[in-house]
Amino acid sequence: MKRLMISFLALAVLGFFAAPPASAQLVVWWNKSFVPQQDEAFKEIVQKWEKKTGKTVDLSFFALPDHPAKVLAAFDSKIVPDVDFGQIVNVQTGTFAFQDKLLEISDVLNPIRSRFTEGALRACDFLNGATGKRGVYSFPIMQHGVNIHYWLDMLQAAGFKESDIPKQWKPFWELWGEVQKRLRAKGERVYGLGITYSVESTDSWQQFYHFMEAHRVRFLDDNGKLQVDDPKVRQGIIDTLEDFTQPYKAKNVPPGAISWKDIDNNLNFNNRQVVMVINPTLSIPGSFLGKNDDYYYNKIRTLRWPAAPDGGLFTLRVSVHNGFIPKDSKNKELAKDFVRFLLEPENLDLFTKASNGAFFPVLKESLQDPFFVSADPHRAAVYKNFMENPTRPYDVVLNRKFVPVETENLIGRACGRVLSENWTAAKAVDEMFARMKQLLAD
């Protein structure tokens, strides 16, 4: 009996320490899409790879906000997936590469570089702090810009036609205030514009970057060097902040926009609380496709950006969503094989299209595909934005030290200083620059 008890305890202790049975040969962590069909498309790609290679994949989907914590904890514990893709994690990819946490995969990407757009490739190239060399540390999946949508029926209810929407910068933004005024006169509790000013949302800084580009000003030059000590840059950003916050000051934006999370501008627009909204990706109209086609095809419109205040086209910022293979992956070669398979045009195309076109392709050949070019009114507007305006990646791609500027959301904080604490734009910008320099010095 004594022996039996001791054996039982020994087994229990051994069981505690024993590793789980190794069933899957490749561990893949993937961002759960807003569109269920996109998850299904990815599962289909995984199954095809499993069938082709005879290997198995342990696939886990993580919700957008949960994914970064999971990845950071994985790097910390060194128990990492073999392949990872996450939209929010993307902002940190440069930091991970610098910290020598990612596998250099130029042998995967270089032979097929000609397939991808230049911007997509640029967003995969990072500096490794341990080796001091730049390299390919991620692979491109899809990309998106920032789009403008409006409710056509609400515009018409205010007495305007589509053709009344100005193409010039200032009149364009003023129109929505006028629409609000007329709709409110009819007893509707609505706001003209859905612009995000909060710290909690990534939308706020993505929108602000477009206003900066329209004002012909940037934080970093092409080499990733901070240029905020240039008086012209400082003045340009002060002007941008004043311009960006003006609709809120004029009470043409819902007051809650200063504490919106990423989903809140979608909700306000979908609830017809705002007439127009600025939002990355086509997720807003996409949420109605197949559920309310009248809204998708007839009532919601996607616009091209107006001309810059000086009358010319301005550069649009593009966010490339890329995946990576952690350096501590236990199946590096298998992971590379999976990535090569995923980057085959038919697979990547399947995955991108399954987002209901919410994302724009990174494959050059897809840029000729009618699916993106002309088959759909929303995608056609995005296509024109991408193809007719110059594009540029966000600053984290140019300088990985810029990551905390965006994760702390200094732009959202500057908006708060102006809108909540009545600071002048100049004072808020100076505070933002001081913190920016502090963060970049670390």
Partner: protein, 290 residues
């Protein structure tokens, strides 16, 4: 006879299956293993992560840190004391034995029993400035837009405190109610015979009877409230503009939003000078049987 046979069997057990002390050691091993892996290791690992001076330099440079430390202090002082004070009075109400009060008691317990995520999200949606229920009613009744509940930092932080109280009040009311019920009823009967008023009965019988429990509850609630992440994170997310962060949410912001785990741990460690003395006082009080 049967009992004595059983007793004699039990008394022979150590001889057949080993000594009592050996069994004691064997049976405590699983607990020690779990304790080491679930308590000791995470604490030591956390201290290691938060041991870099660089993390503290970064932390103290960040203007949000001081604001969050101040918020934590205000949160603890206001929320804990207000909650315990209301619980003290409500425990007097629920001390009554009428049937309808018992029914009210059941409803009163619901916020405590309900999961935090849906209940706090519901509050957040109710107080949404544009399409929340509260401001919707105000607009319908009076044609006004209503207060910017989660937009103005002071109002938002006030709502955070109110949510914390709403969620935890039932538990502390129950604790203090149990304390009241432990006071012998004849004390009140004697006071009644002597013509004591309700206030005098509370002052000279109830409060001395539950004073130690009240103080212990306050200390315990303070320790728990330092780590109250849900009330802030789910309601305001630390916003607007990071103005309602407390140290627990700021730590998460550093660790997972910014991706700097050491600074996140360091943030939480800076709350230790506040928590450790309270734990020390609490343990001493419990040791004295207070």
């Amino acid at each position: 006879m049967a009992r004595s046979i059983a007793a004699s069997r039990i008394s022979t057990a150590p001889g057949r299956f080993g000594s009592d002390s050996a069994w004691g050691v064997i049976l405590v091993i699983p607990y020690i293993v779990v304790f080491v892996f679930v308590v000791v290791y995470p604490i030591l690992y956390g201290l290691k992560l938060g041991s870099s001076a660089e993390s503290y330099r970064k932390l103290f440079q960040d203007p949000i840190y001081l604001k969050s430390a101040w918020n934590t202090l205000v949160f603890l002082i206001v929320a804990v004391n207000l909650k315990l004070l209301i619980a003290l009075f409500l425990s007097g109400f629920f001390y009554n034995t009428e049937a309808w009060i018992r029914w009210v008691g059941i409803i009163f317990l619901l916020p405590w029993a309900a999961p935090s995520l849906p209940s706090i999200f519901s509050i957040r949606w109710m107080f949404n400035s544009e399409w929340g229920m509260i401001n919707g009613i105000l607009f319908r009744l009076f044609g006004i837009d209503g207060p910017l509940w989660l937009v103005k930092p002071d109002l938002a932080f006030g709502l955070v405190i109110a949510t914390h109280i709403w969620k935890n009040l039932p538990f502390w009311t129950l604790i203090l109610l149990a304390g009241r019920m432990a006071i012998p009823k004849d004390h009140y009967e004697a006071a009644n015979v002597d013509g004591a008023t309700r206030f005098q009965a509370f002052r000279f019988i109830t409060f001395p009877g539950i004073k130690n429990l009240y103080i212990t509850s306050t200390l315990l609630s303070t320790i728990w409230s330092v780590g109250d992440f849900n009330s802030v994170y789910l309601l305001t997310g630390g916003g607007p503009w990071d103005a309602t962060h407390v140290l627990s949410t700021l730590g998460i912001r550093y660790a997972f939003n910014i991706g700097d785990i050491p600074t996140g741990v360091a943030t939480v460690i800076t709350a230790l000078p506040l928590v450790v003395p309270i734990v020390f006082v609490l343990i001493r009080r419990l040791g004295k049987g207070e």
